[in-house]
Amino acid sequence: MPRERTFRTEAIVLRRSDFGESDRLLTLFSKEFGKIRAVAKGARKPQSRKTGHVELFMCSRFLLAEGRDLHIVTQAELVEAYAPLRADLVRVTYAAYACELLDRFTTENDRHSDMYDLLSQALGWFAGESDLLLAARVYELRLLNMAGYRPQLHECLHCREPIQEQDQFFSVALGGLLCPNCQAADARALPLTAVAVKVLRYLQTRPWEVVKKLQLKRPLQHELENVLHHYLLYLLERDLKSVDFLHRLRREANLFAGVWQNLG
């Protein structure tokens, strides 16, 4: 029998499902190899040595045995658990969102170390920062940029004139702004206030340490969320489960007043 080939990589657990008797099938986003799938044998048994290291949204160092379809986890050693995520339903929802988005924008075995770094940074934000909406917007803009869908916010996508400081329109189909004169170029373009345009540009270019000092009012937060969600859903051509879940949580928050904070 040929000797089993093994390789090491650091990876974040994007998804997992039950597999076989007591195994878990993991979708990992690895720093070196992009998205890969691997089986963690016995990982549903609490006494397995892998169990505490292969849970969702954990970052671990893996030793994997190469397989034809699926790799096999031979060892897993926890690097970062992002523990505060697991103690807050809103934070965990944002973490799920970050992973779902990245999962949808990538294909298997496609190396993206920039996205890996972004995801691990974003999980840190969702675990620790107070303004989760702002963190989500920054994450979305960075990911769009890396995936090749950076929204055009500086010139009109129809007349190519520079954008003036006034209310504009955002075309998800064209991937950026249309000036008021050209809004008819896309009948479904969304109105976007001048201040939202300004904030989006700011988020697009400044580092998180600078951006996080912004204190945005709720209506503006929702305007930014709305335009970016529309754009993302247009690109992905399908709803995101975590976004649906977030909306359900918000409806509940209205029912049980004051139960959830930092929900938006």
Binding site: R15, A43, R44, T51, R86, L89, K241, F245, R248
Partner: protein, 201 residues
């Protein structure tokens, strides 16, 4: 590709087996051919058992565990402490906790867990039924015995908030169950320790 060489009925059984969790196409074929060759009427026994199970079991209208009687044997057992309520994800978790012999109260089976990843919310589970039961019942303690997984923790966090205005003590199984494991696979000793060491939330 050697396609359609199998009779349609055989292929149908293979396909049906393959829809079961944990069974791939290879195991499905193996099981099918085992049943095909078997001389001890195993296939007919299996068919009868399946039919009987589907015809005679339902969910208990009180605790939502699977049962043949309404209410179930646990709900009608006067020897059990009716002021203790243990909330679990699945019927198999009831089996695991019963096996530990460390618990003598009632149960509530949610039939799943909240999952932001899969988009499973409280309205997909027996949560409203739980809240109503707690509001109407005389419980002194609600034990949240969901799995120590991300979904189990999310469910526990959610229930804690939903029940926080009820005048009842809410506890969670002790830590020490490693993150990511399933209750169903926890050995009796660990599980009984986790029950004994449960902490108020």
């Amino acid at each position: 590709m050697a396609q359609n060489v199998l009779p349609r009925t055989v292929q149908r059984l293979i396909d049906t087996f393959a829809r079961l969790p944990g069974i791939g196409p290879k195991s499905a074929s193996r099981l099918t051919f085992y049943l095909l060759r078997d001389k001890d009427n195993l296939a007919l026994d299996l068919a009868a058992a399946l039919q009987e199970m589907k015809a005679n079991t339902r969910l208990c209208p009180v605790c939502f565990n699977i049962t043949e009687e309404e209410p179930c044997l646990i709900c009608r057992d006067e020897g059990r402490d009716a002021t203790l309520l243990c909330v679990v994800e699945e019927p198999l978790d009831v089996v695991a906790i019963e096996r530990s012999r460390a618990y003598n109260g009632r149960y509530h089976v949610l039939h799943g867990a909240i999952s932001p990843v899969e988009g499973i919310g409280p309205e997909d589970l027996k949560v409203a039924e739980l809240v109503r039961r707690v509001q109407q019942g005389n419980f002194r303690e609600i034990i949240l015995a969901t799995n120590p997984t991300l979904e189990g923790e999310s469910t526990s966090l959610y229930l804690q908030r939903r029940l926080m205005h009820e005048k009842v003590k809410i506890t969670r199984l002790a830590r020490g169950l490693p993150v990511g494991g399933d209750l169903e696979y926890t050995d009796e000793i660990t599980l009984s320790r986790a029950l004994e060491g449960r902490q108020e939330l």
